[in-house]
Symmetry: D2
Subunit: 355 residues, 4 copies
Amino acid sequence: MAKKKLRVGLIGATGYGGVGLIELLINHPYISIAALMAKQEIDKPISAIYPHLKGFCDLPVFDPADPKCPHDFDIVFYATPDGVGQKEARKWLNKGIKVIDYSGDFRFNDKDSYASYAARIGKPKEHADPDILHSSTYGLPELHREKIASSDLVGNPGCFAVSCILGIVPALKFGLIDSKDIIFDAKSGVSGAGKTPSPLFHFPARYEAVNAYKVTGHQHVYEIERELASLTDKEIKITFTPHVIPVSRGIIATIYANIATNVNMENLREAYGSMYSKEPFIRIFSHGEILSTTDVRGSNFCNILLTIDSRTGKLIVISVIDNLVKGQAGNALQNMNIMMQIEETTGLMYPGNFP
Amino acid sequence: MAKKKLRVGLIGATGYGGVGLIELLINHPYISIAALMAKQEIDKPISAIYPHLKGFCDLPVFDPADPKCPHDFDIVFYATPDGVGQKEARKWLNKGIKVIDYSGDFRFNDKDSYASYAARIGKPKEHADPDILHSSTYGLPELHREKIASSDLVGNPGCFAVSCILGIVPALKFGLIDSKDIIFDAKSGVSGAGKTPSPLFHFPARYEAVNAYKVTGHQHVYEIERELASLTDKEIKITFTPHVIPVSRGIIATIYANIATNVNMENLREAYGSMYSKEPFIRIFSHGEILSTTDVRGSNFCNILLTIDSRTGKLIVISVIDNLVKGQAGNALQNMNIMMQIEETTGLMYPGNFP
Amino acid sequence: MAKKKLRVGLIGATGYGGVGLIELLINHPYISIAALMAKQEIDKPISAIYPHLKGFCDLPVFDPADPKCPHDFDIVFYATPDGVGQKEARKWLNKGIKVIDYSGDFRFNDKDSYASYAARIGKPKEHADPDILHSSTYGLPELHREKIASSDLVGNPGCFAVSCILGIVPALKFGLIDSKDIIFDAKSGVSGAGKTPSPLFHFPARYEAVNAYKVTGHQHVYEIERELASLTDKEIKITFTPHVIPVSRGIIATIYANIATNVNMENLREAYGSMYSKEPFIRIFSHGEILSTTDVRGSNFCNILLTIDSRTGKLIVISVIDNLVKGQAGNALQNMNIMMQIEETTGLMYPGNFP
Amino acid sequence: MAKKKLRVGLIGATGYGGVGLIELLINHPYISIAALMAKQEIDKPISAIYPHLKGFCDLPVFDPADPKCPHDFDIVFYATPDGVGQKEARKWLNKGIKVIDYSGDFRFNDKDSYASYAARIGKPKEHADPDILHSSTYGLPELHREKIASSDLVGNPGCFAVSCILGIVPALKFGLIDSKDIIFDAKSGVSGAGKTPSPLFHFPARYEAVNAYKVTGHQHVYEIERELASLTDKEIKITFTPHVIPVSRGIIATIYANIATNVNMENLREAYGSMYSKEPFIRIFSHGEILSTTDVRGSNFCNILLTIDSRTGKLIVISVIDNLVKGQAGNALQNMNIMMQIEETTGLMYPGNFP
């Protein structure tokens, strides 16, 4: 285990993804935050932007282009929107500094897959550094732990994707459901939309408002389909409908699939158990229990509940995460631990607060 | 149009369904509230229980068994839980007084259907007055307006059922979807659970909590299946998952169905238009628009949005209501207007407040 | 009573103050909305901006400078920020069209008072049309009903000011409290900050956040002090602390004053009764009752509760309004009714919805 | 520092005060939870009641009277309502086991003070073990750290009292304000009312509702007055108005006092600095900054902001805490650390999560 603390650089420190990582790094025993960087609120102490950090982390926010900004890191996090990390990752990698990116920039391994994704989010289809894509790893530890451990460049998954993929993978992998007709009805808290104010997320307009959005057109569809397809020999087309709910944190994905012939709850429990019983951040629940987003708020856990609707032959899975922890900063830190050969759960074993 | 105001009796006046009706009746031009009745908070003015009514309605709450309680009504509303109205409806009907019941007591026309429903909600399977069931009408005006107009006994629909049925009926009636594999993922505000405090609806436990409940087992499934089956010659089995979201009012139902061969958006718009273009309380929206629960909060409208997911061949319908208005008191008043030959929209044309 | 409907022009139609007035005007029997005007979202139907209005009011939004915009009004509302109405009011008045302005532009009768106020809100101290100030009336009907009735130009009060002034005026007017040391601790819902998104009112940042702001420096202090001073022969300096609470609507002002020697609750009830017992929109409550913001949500009422803390000799008054109704659009409509010799409560007798 | 982990017993484990302590104890390096006790939900694992604890703490809930319940503790917490700890504390103390009680049972040092308090909360005025009161310590570390360190019996303060006392003590102690006429206008989140459902805290009734309650009659007045009086040679009578706001966590106390002659901000900053600059859990802010309840949510900090209203000669202090942490479980753990000669901040240095 490292004696000397690892030096972390954080780009995009002032957004929700950045502050979420800072909250975790503060109490991580093997880490030192070496520099906070952002394009906004330069030179302010981070604790002047987020007063809850006062006394815990009072580092200034550097413009990443500022020559005075430290750059001797062991690992760099890009808690930035799409399009930032792809332009800069190679610079760090060339210096032997590992990179974890929160956006879609490194979730795809070839330029064509990236182009499909980029078209959906209105970005240029051309990746800024397509040759680097082949060396990047999709950072979902439950599926790609070993590859992450040997990787220098990790694309942290989308928050919806984490809840959806973890919820259905064992059923699909073990052939317990029809790979067609999988439906993901996902509901997310507002923090998933980030820190920038907008009319749809203005408090008075939002406080009692629930709505679906990007119906048939959300960009997380691609990474979900890619991950699911890799488990079977078939192309997968999913139906995915995201909703915004007036809470700050939490994703609950309700997943519907047609159960294969003669499959019963016992088979399902075995499949999920075989994949997840040793996973440190997955907890399985049974029909009759109630899974709430508040059960994982502030924690890195994914809670999963399995039900069979015997009247209609459907598997119904409820999968719940905190979109800012397992769906973002917590999962990124889990990746960092793996990449740095630190015990995977270090700095992540918090239950959250209730109520 | 009635010169003399119709006299209304309201049983269950102190619950959310009761107070919602009082709010509407206050400004209804042809109605006089003749008596408020409940089993709790007897003798208090209703405005001592609900201070927003002070000066608008200060009538006392009577025990229905109190001989001093007026009983010369033209129509009686049972805003009561299952099991109350079925024991008493005949008494009023025998005196020529019409009855509208909010519960499941009169949503089914035969004792066997009722028994299936009652088993689900943990009530005695035996209806208290089975012979009366044949004369009751399911009170969804958009489907049964004429029957309601000639009926003396109406069972007001369940709130989830209103949003689900209205959302899918035209597609099913005109054969635009496969009648199998219809999935209703429904999200409701907390007021749908009524006025009685409970741990799951205690503010601190609920304020950030979203959860599914009664997965595969909600009682509204029966009336939805019955109404849908009546439009086709097939048995219908639906998948229905209710969720509770931390808002007070609003239901958003996201409905998934497999679209029939060669059906396109034009066909769908024609079908919904032919059924709903003259409906006073249904508004149709198009793909790309956003439907929010706040668009119908405090109003008697059902907003419906149609989308085709061409990648997966799914019809996705979003259907939104206020569970306490179109899902309860407003729909009940709409039924009353129809039964009493009053213009159907009287006392109901409010847009609600935003934000 | 007017046979021909009065024609209303509304400038600033797309803000919360505008839409709140539209909601009320829709069902006002003697009014026709002649034109909606704003500087944003020109040419859109108002119901495309606020979908709850669809079918109720689908008028387009005009640029006020558009020559096609109707301008034959009986009365014009400026639901606009400070600085707009003062430049244009004279134009309408010269044509015999009455004007009600929501902002501070016409709350002060002389240029010096206005200058003090304007300095506080960061506006040019010079009023754009100072000569017109002398003819304007402060639009608080409970204090200035007769003057409003004969006025062509009314400055609608600030939302905090309405709750604070109505809460303390009788005690001060009848000499029941010391005119020094009056403290107003006021809490407002977020809609009071208007429709424009900002970091402080972004849903995730606001949903659990309560804070004081503009401590010692809120601009409503001036109109409160002016109104209170006019009831006594002394200068009044008040302490006023506004807070933002994470609800959409509602102001609760908790008011503290030193009670005068030998004054008791009986004296207080007499004073408040003599001023308010015939007021259509004020309701008085007693110690032991609980006043909640939800008791007036969506209604034009001000609820007031009186308590004496005999241990400390303090009068404590709780005064509650809906900031968007009695604190804005509802009070403005009340002014319009008075100015137009329409029964004052017309179009305003709604209890709101609970829950 | 202890090698062997201290064994903690927790009575009242299933309430909010209990679960809040468990959340902290889980990651406390020198503590082992030896037994959870409650009167409800006996034999259930605590993680079946609070699923976020699953995997962190799955201990069963014992009836304290169950002979199988462990009782070899180093310290016992009573996270129970008034009246429980006073009957049992002596039993533990006699065995050399220290006791911290959350309720008012041990906040007063003599039976008469207790009787005044008890009358206010509707409890029998007679303390169950009056002789023990003299040895109890009021557990506010910032005022009584040394006494707590040598005490075996500590009464943890009321949540409102923590925010009010910490906010005003330096001003009073250094004679910077008039000791008369101090007003505390306090606003609390709903979790302060505990876990038991009730009509006032039912989600639909509460979600937009703000109200004052117990106006002039809240029981925390006594401990505030006692602590303040001990700093001066005068009797202190305060005005205190609690409000409930629809958030889960957080207290914001707005405190008004008349500033003494010639006192300025410099004097105030010196006074607060001299008392608090070395306090690990107090942070001082300046006029112009904004203090929000979310800045301390989930953390043990008290944030304090000082303002002088020079127009009216008032000191305005804003004091903010998390009612369940510094106002309850966190402060209790701070007391435990002090009593057990563990570094005071152990297990408490968390910034909380934002948003």
